[in-house]
Symmetry: C2
Subunit: 181 residues, 2 copies
């Protein structure tokens, strides 16, 4: 399965300030051809942090999602800024969104959203040895920080305001990792 379909043509078919939509003409190894659409992959990488306040407490944030038109319990995240590496981006976003920095950052997984039509990737980072520090962010309203016990993770995942696949995956990975330490 190493030989990928041949990309015969790629062209931008729609564009806004933030997004681009590409049409992709592919030839699979069996000769089948398909035309797919996908979002243009953003040139900037992103990070999402699981801030661990202690061995059983994560810091969630409550944030409005314009896509779902609802408040979600989620994890701090954001795109890299000019020249940052993932550690710098992680610590800046943590300070902006969760009021903490972290002395210890561990890369857990590079995740995608929907490989079929998005190339978007996010680095999921476990943040430990936290210290209080706040940086001003660009949020329209202050984010509420919500500590949550990992021993009550199942109840969290059942909530209607916890839906984001990346968040559920990151928290379950964290719980597993802590159980195995």
């Amino acid at each position: 399965m190493d030989e990928k379909p041949e990309i015969l043509d790629t062209r931008l078919v729609a564009k806004s300030r933030l997004f681009g939509i590409e049409e992709l003409h592919l030839r699979f190894r069996n000769g089948e051809e398909r035309t797919y659409e996908r979002l243009r992959t953003p040139p900037i990488a992103a990070v999402m942090m699981v801030p661990l306040l202690d061995n059983d407490t994560v810091l969630l944030i409550r944030e409005y999602g314009a896509g779902t038109e609802s408040y979600e319990l989620t994890l701090p995240k954001g795109a890299f800024e000019h020249g940052e590496d993932w550690r710098e981006a992680a610590n800046r976003e943590l300070k902006e969104e969760a009021g903490h920095g972290a002395h210890k950052l561990t890369l857990m997984k590079d995740m995608t959203l929907s490989p079929g039509y998005m190339g978007h990737r996010i680095k999921v980072v476990l943040a430990e040895d936290l210290y209080e520090e706040t940086l001003p962010g660009d949020e329209p309203e202050p984010l509420e920080v919500v500590p949550w016990k990992l021993s009550e993770l199942d109840q969290l995942i059942e909530r209607d305001d916890v839906t984001e696949a990346r968040v559920i995956a990151a928290l379950l990975m964290t719980k597993r990792l802590l159980e195995q330490r």
Copy 2:
């Protein structure tokens, strides 16, 4: 946090065959106003299945993702077709992509991809009591079905061709659910 931002205006700013991009003008409760972009939410819901062959074996599929330009180990999924409910859609996609139907379907979670700029939702379904049955799908090439032991889930998640947050979340939720039975 029940009072949501007021949506002052929504307009379509770009459009392709499959996707639409909307600009959204919001006023938050503190008076702050923002203009965001988001993908238009598809009118059709989707399902993703965790097919459980036995208590320690899930059926994965290997599929090309045009967004990431790579083959991924993933789970069968797809959009509802005309008038289907989630059970019908789940069984059809299972037969098309994994060569099995399921006598027992359990809705585990309604997941989102990126609430900030996408309203997309997918129903994650545990599929049990499988039986062999194949339906022709619209795939450009036959999908390889890959059985994987849940006792080796950590090794699976470490793989570079397993990146999709929804898949990682669904498999970890399945493992937890089975451990608690």
